[in-house]
């Protein structure tokens, strides 16, 4: 006991008792307290740092000089006078703005001290993107982070992947954890179980106008403190806070317009019918006679330009107002936002109303607390975009797609279902009510000890209602469904996070500074989803479950709990060597009791060599860093052992059957373990005119918890067990250049580039492949994404042309070899599934430019991805229906390039058309339908792109004018998104894909909601 007492004394008694005690507070220009500011009495070894509230206390004599230094701020020197209280306001050093970064648990850290790569973007960079979905605002801005916008629907989800896919489980959520003000929130995407509708990822509920900054923590080292839930990285969002001083009111209002950004190359010559014959009732939209020919005898017959006319000009408006301010001991921030969007597919819309209130209160020098509550209501009508696009495909180009409804409300059609009619009446509305809140308490009984407690909640209810009308009961009507149905879904999700930690700080002497944090973290998620479906309406057009002849109901609920204990030790030696050790033990409710507790450590080291060596003048800053980290991962709740299910078909005549679930969860499952290493360097030259940051990383996720597909003969089809390993490695480069820097004109560029390599190191003995997903293609051209050992994630398999001399055992299509032409003169099809491409981009990057001239600011962001292939299902459909430009070659004679079975060159001329050709031979449905559409190879295409993601021009009113009007600031900006897209891809924007952000089957573009380009006008007023 005595020893402990001595240690306690040692911890406490490090300040000498000389001179007077100077106390004070250090804040930034806006009055925000600055924690961790280092204060040294000039010429001595006495020093201290400010606490979390910016307070400090130091012993000094009158006449001594206090040196205040803080990264990101201009250093300040103050001579001690008679006053024993010295409050200091530090000015931002514009050179080094981005040097402070918010890391785990919302702790601001000097980037200099980090032993791992982290990158953040600020409020300006977020708002300039004009993205309503926070995830999209990160697009192209952070190295190693791939954002894919799943489509152009209002409110549609975006997917974020950091440093590659880390799980072999096709259903795994490979996305990072989202944390707002220290509290994790739900970012799941729950897609419609029926036809895809483009639902939102839940981070879309956050109003970007409330966000101050977003940091991306990429590696396991950065996320060790969030534990299992951040195994894929973390996005740390810090919201705006009130600041001491005058009350500020900010009003932002924006209107935008959007339109389709890209169409496939389409033919406009041939119309409805088959075999070149016109038929106004034919199912076939474009295999008929030339339109111009038919127009001579049929009045009004023309190419209707449906592809341009079916889509609307979308409209969006975004208004938000915020009020913030604060006094000596309290601050507040309140905001209200309303966003409305009508999409380009008619009748699609989405709206978000958000309100936020937050505040901080300093009760005493020792105790302060803060809290925030955010309410969001969001939702809209989600049109069946997949079906819309499919029906556009079937719709005849000579029939007006806009003329879709009869006066009695029934569908107007020549036979096929009209896409706009379907979009209008097959509705799917979601209505989300969500509350995110947190409370923080900090208590510092002494300057070296602080107790903190944070409790956060994220509750939402998602009410969904899907209606497909049945017949109206009018003679001769074409109804969308013979019975109609209504499906009511109620989702309730409740997250609670509790975090208690103690921080111990100690400056041992001039050289050694340590900080130790110990804590406990508890997480719970309760989820409940109830679905009731009523089929067959009794009274037409009366949409209520009570009005249906058959009702089915189902329920799915789950609960997951996690308890974690963690420690984090930071050691700073002479401000140039930083060592950080972390350890965490998680206990998860989802794992078997014997294996549910698991520990994992991390270590990282940062070495600022520019502070320990004399470097040339132009070499401003240099740091090397390295880290090694492990992170465990649990699994989904309720998967262990064998269970029984009642198939959804029951009850039948009041009887409910049961069947053993075909999934078996290994009762001795253990946690997954990801080990990663990272090395990097951060360099700065010419007074930070040029910044370079390079990172190499490698991570191996072992003992993966995956549903291994097993022989049905075992009595199960899936065995959830530990199997397999996946490796991601890559390089990231971030470059910042101040190209021009004069008083009136500045030009700053920030660029990032990353490459990721992925390899599936192992699956499980005896298991050859894991199928992630597949997408339909006509005549056997269905594409499948499969994982096999030794290859990368994302390989697309399908049929191809036979190649002469091809290696029979080859996994990959040997494109370089000549195609084999059959006896019939057409290319031969190879039905064996070969790898035709890979859907995970190897290269991603972006360049952001900021040009300022006097009161004008021009920003533009370009991003790209390369070395990626996707399945172009739309192209497959277009070729099957004779709609794309290349099917104009439908009456050509052609000698196919290739060789015969014996290797001799093909010389046979064939006709590509339908029916009997000029040579008298019957070609049946013709080349495009008989051959071309059935070859997957034709549709696995290069999906690289370069996009001008955003460009904006802003004018800020000068002070002279502002003095005469009642505003403290006024800004006007014009912006455009996605107006330039370069891609070899033939089709809609290749970024859109079918699965939505929740899925991993990214290579299937399918009939996704087409991408858009948009234009905005924004006003921002400050009061």
């Amino acid at each position: 006991m005595k020893n402990i007492t001595i240690i306690l004394f040692l911890l406490l008694g490090c300040s000498s008792v000389l001179g007077q005690t100077i106390t004070g507070n250090v804040a930034d220009a806006s009055g925000q307290p600055l924690p961790g500011v280092s204060i040294i009495v000039s010429g001595t070894t006495r020093g201290t740092t400010t606490d979390f509230d910016g307070n400090y206390s130091i012993t000094a004599e009158t006449g001594d000089t206090l040196e205040f230094t803080y990264l990101g701020m201009e250093p300040k020197e103050i001579i001690v006078g008679l006053n024993s209280v010295i409050d200091v306001s530090m000015e931002e050093d514009s050179e080094q703005l981005d040097e402070v970064i918010v890391t785990a648990f919302g702790i601001s850290q000097e980037k200099k001290a980090l032993g791992y790569a982290a990158q953040s973007i600020d409020a300006d960079a977020i708002s300039q993107t004009k993205q309503t979905n926070l995830v999209n605002a990160l697009q192209g801005q952070v190295a190693g982070v791939q954002i894919t916008n799943s489509g152009g629907a209002p409110g549609q989800s975006a997917r974020i992947i950091i440093r590659g896919i880390n799980s072999l489980d096709p259903a795994a959520d490979n996305q990072p954890l989202f944390v707002i003000d220290g509290v994790p929130i739900d970012n799941s995407t729950v897609e419609s179980p029926n036809t895809p509708r483009g639902l939102s990822n839940r981070a879309a509920d956050i109003n970007p106008a409330d966000v101050e900054s977003m940091s991306v923590l990429k590696g396991a080292a950065a996320t060790a403190l969030y534990g299992v839930r951040a195994a894929n990285g973390a996005v740390i969002i810090t919201t705006k806070k009130g600041q001491k001083g005058q009350v500020r009111i900010n009003l932002n209002t924006s209107v935008g317009f959007e339109e389709l950004n890209r169409l496939p190359e389409l033919q406009t010559q041939y119309g409805q019918g088959f075999s070149g014959e016109y038929d106004p009732t034919s199912f076939w939209p474009s295999w008929g006679a030339p339109i111009s020919e038919v127009a001579q005898t049929v009045p009004g017959h023309k190419y209707q330009d449906n592809w341009n006319r079916a889509f609307n000009t979308g409209v969006q408006s975004d208004h938000s107002i915020s009020i913030s301010g604060g006094g000596e001991n309290a601050t507040f921030y309140g905001s209200f936002g309303r966003f409305d969007q009508k999409g380009i597919i008619p009748f699609s819309d989405w709206a978000r109303t958000s309100a936020k209130l937050s505040g901080t209160v300093k009760v005493s020098e020792k105790f302060d607390f803060s809290g925030s509550i955010n309410y969001t209501n969001s939702g809209g009508n989600r049109v069946p975009h997949d079906r819309f696009m499919e029906r556009m495909m079937y719709w005849a180009e000579t029939q007006d797609v806009r003329d879709y409804i009869n006066p009695d409300g029934t569908m107007k059609t020549y036979g096929n279902t009209n896409p706009i009619y379907d979009a209008r009446f097959s509705t799917y509305e979601d209505n989300v009510n969500r509350v995110i809140g947190n409370l923080n308490f900090n208590y510092s009984p002494t300057d070296w000890l602080m107790l903190s407690y944070r409790i956060g909640t994220d509750f939402y209810s998602d009410m969904r209602s899907e209606i497909t009308p049945g017949p109206k009961g009018i003679d001769g009507e074409n109804s969308l469904s013979s019975t109609g149905f209504i499906e009511e879904t109620r989702i309730n999700s409740k997250d609670i996070t509790s975090n208690l930690y103690v921080t111990l700080k100690k400056q041992w002497n001039d050289d050694w500074n340590t900080s130790l944090r110990l804590g406990n973290d508890i997480f719970q998620r309760k989820f409940d989803r109830v679905t009731a479906t009523g089929e067959d309406f009794v009274i037409p057009e009366f949409y209520n479950l009570n009005n249906t002849r058959q009702i089915f109901a189902s329920q799915n609920k789950s609960i997951r709990r996690l308890v974690g204990f963690y420690g984090d030790l930071m050691v700073n030696y002479k401000d140039f060597l930083y060592l950080n050790l972390t350890g965490r033990n998680d206990i998860s409710s989802t794992l078997p009791k014997d294996n549910n507790s698991f520990f994992y450590p991390s270590v990282n080291l940062g070495y600022v060599f520019s502070e320990s060596f004399e470097l040339p003048q132009w070499f401003t800053f240099g740091k090397l860093r390295g880290s090694w980290a492990q992170v465990g991962k649990d699994t989904n709740p309720h998967i262990l052992g064998a269970t029984f299910v009642s198939p959804s078909v029951f009850p039948l005549d009041g009887q409910v059957g049961f069947s053993r679930n075909s999934t078996f969860g290994d009762p001795s499952l253990k946690p997954e373990l990801t080990t990663s290493i990272e090395f990097g360097a951060q360099l700065s030259f010419f007074q930070s005119r040029l910044d370079i940051d390079v990172t190499y990383y490698k991570s191996n996720a072992e003992d993966q918890i995956i549903p291994v597909p097993i022989s049905d003969g075992t009595g199960f089809s899936e065995y959830i067990t530990n199997a397999g390993e996946i490796e991601n490695s890559g390089v990231e480069l971030v470059l910042g250049v101040d190209i021009i820097k004069t008083d009136n004109f500045q030009w700053t560029t920030t660029a990032n580039l990353s490459k990721n390599d992925n390899e599936i190191k192992a699956i499980r003995e005896g298991i050859e492949e894991i199928v992630v997903g597949s997408q339909f293609g006509y005549a056997g051209s269905t594409v499948t994404m499969k994982l096999i050992e030794g290859e990368a994630y994302g390989n697309l398999y399908g049929t191809s042309y036979q190649r002469f001399g091809a290696d029979e055992d080859a996994l990959f299509l040997q494109r370089g070899l000549p195609v084999i032409i059959g006896d019939d003169g057409f290319p031969e099809r190879n039905a064996n599934q070969l790898i035709l491409g890979n859907a995970v981009p190897k290269w991603i990057g972006g360049v952001r430019n900021q040009l300022t001239y006097k009161n004008f600011e021009l920003n533009f962001l370009i991003d790209f991805r390369a070395d990626v292939e996707q399945y172009n299902q739309y192209d497959n459909f277009l070729s099957a229906f004779g709609k794309n430009e290349y099917t104009l070659a439908r009456n050509d004679l052609r000698i196919f390039d290739g060789v015969l079975e014996d290797g001799s060159a093909n010389t046979q001329e064939v006709w590509l058309g339908q029916g009997v050709g000029p040579d008298g031979r019957d070609y049946g449905a013709g080349f495009w339908r008989n051959d071309y559409r059935g070859i997957t190879e034709n549709f696995v295409q290069d999906a690289s792109f370069v996009k001008l993601r955003n460009i904006s021009l802003t004018y800020t009113l000068g002070n002279k004018i502002l003095d005469r009007i009642p505003f403290s600031s006024l800004r006007v900006s014009l912006a455009a998104n996605n107006i330039i897209l370069y891609s070899p891809w033939d089709g809609f924007d290749p970024e859109s894909f079918s699965a939505g952000a929740g899925g991993n089957a990214i290579g299937f573009t399918g009939l996704g909601f087409p991408g858009t380009q948009s234009y905005f006008l924004t006003f921002n007023f400050g009061l």
Partner: protein, 471 residues
Amino acid sequence: MKIINRTKGIVAIGLVFMVLACDSYLDVNENPNNPQDAPISGLMINSTYESALNVYRIGDIVSNYVQYLASPNPASASDTMEPVSNNNTWFSLYNVMTDLTVLIDKAEEQGAGHYQGAAEVLMALNLGMTVDIFGDIPFSESFNFETVTPKYDADQELYGVVMNYLDIGISHLNGETTATMGSDDFIYQGDVAKWLAFANMLKARYMIHLKNTGSYSSEEVLASVDNGFQSGDDNAGVNFFEQSINPWAEVARDNADLLLGGWISEQFIQALDGTSYNTVDPRLPLMVGATDDGQYIGTENGAGRGDAPEQGARSTLIEGQYYTSVTSPILIATYSEQKFIEAEAAFATDKSRSYQAYLDGIVAHMNMLGVPQTDIDTYLAGPDVSMGESAFTLNDIFKEKWVALFLHPESWNDARRFDYQYENFTLPANLNPDLSGQFIRRLPYPDSETSRNGNNVPEVTLLDRIFWDTE
């Protein structure tokens, strides 16, 4: 020191509480959606329902091979006898056999002999159907989860297992039971006498398959027939539901909605419309739909519909007929089929019994379809049908059995035993070239099995025969 000790005590107690609390706090992983256990009644409901669906599933796969149906699309893999991976059917068969294994164990534990017996009969049915299409399959190492790659057992051995299940099933059905089946039995609503007849009928079916092998006895077949179905009332099948309509009705409905399927083969139409045989069969308009012009026109297997439009120009399944009404049964075994088995078994030993059984089989099927008595009489009077005992051949049995087993998977077993020697039966257009001009003899193993249990899956071609399909 006292204070410190007390503090230590409190901390220690606190820690113990935390650990205990933690334990129960985290003990929330029991599945709230799916129970850990299921009642035998629930398993019986699903097993009877799914067994009927399995009959449909296999019927659907083989209906093009036996040329009941033909694809409207040219060179469709099912018509041309290409290898098609039947992952879903394989899964469904094993899924039911898994549930039946659980049901048998649980029924035995509870002394519910009738449940056990009925489950054993269904196990014999599903196992038999699986062996008949796939040959060697995993079974002895199945369902106990001792390996994730179960070995394949020989088809001939598995036939012994099938017969064994039927025998012990019969003894359990004859024995005591602690629980009585009722409306949880979708096949017989708990009528044990009918289950016993069904078990005997299945014995007869599986034994007749062995006719050309060494282990065949016509007496045993006939003995089982005697204990089998006594009339069409004993037919084993599951009636479908408004909520879950008969799958053939669904095919017909989809076809009407232009999701093409259920097109009738030219061979079937011609066998009944007086082309291949002189007698016009009154069953044709009760089994398939006519064209817009009221004609019965089939589609050539493998050739597709040619110039014919999607609707109205070819015979297809249409909703509302005997096989295609919303609540029509999927028939697992019928009295009519049993009569043809009797006819075949008695043919060599008791030809008059055989001939009578053949005629009874036709009548039984016609009664089932509701053919008017006058039409039945007219048909039976046809010289092609009532050729007389002496002119009567096995071919006649196979032809009539083929008609009576419309859409039923047993027809493919018959077709292979009969070497596809039906009148005017021709190979499909665009036949899979690997078959070298012969009819298909078995299904390939599904891709799911080759990718998950590749080391055990036997190498086979589509010309390899099931053990009972002797050359």
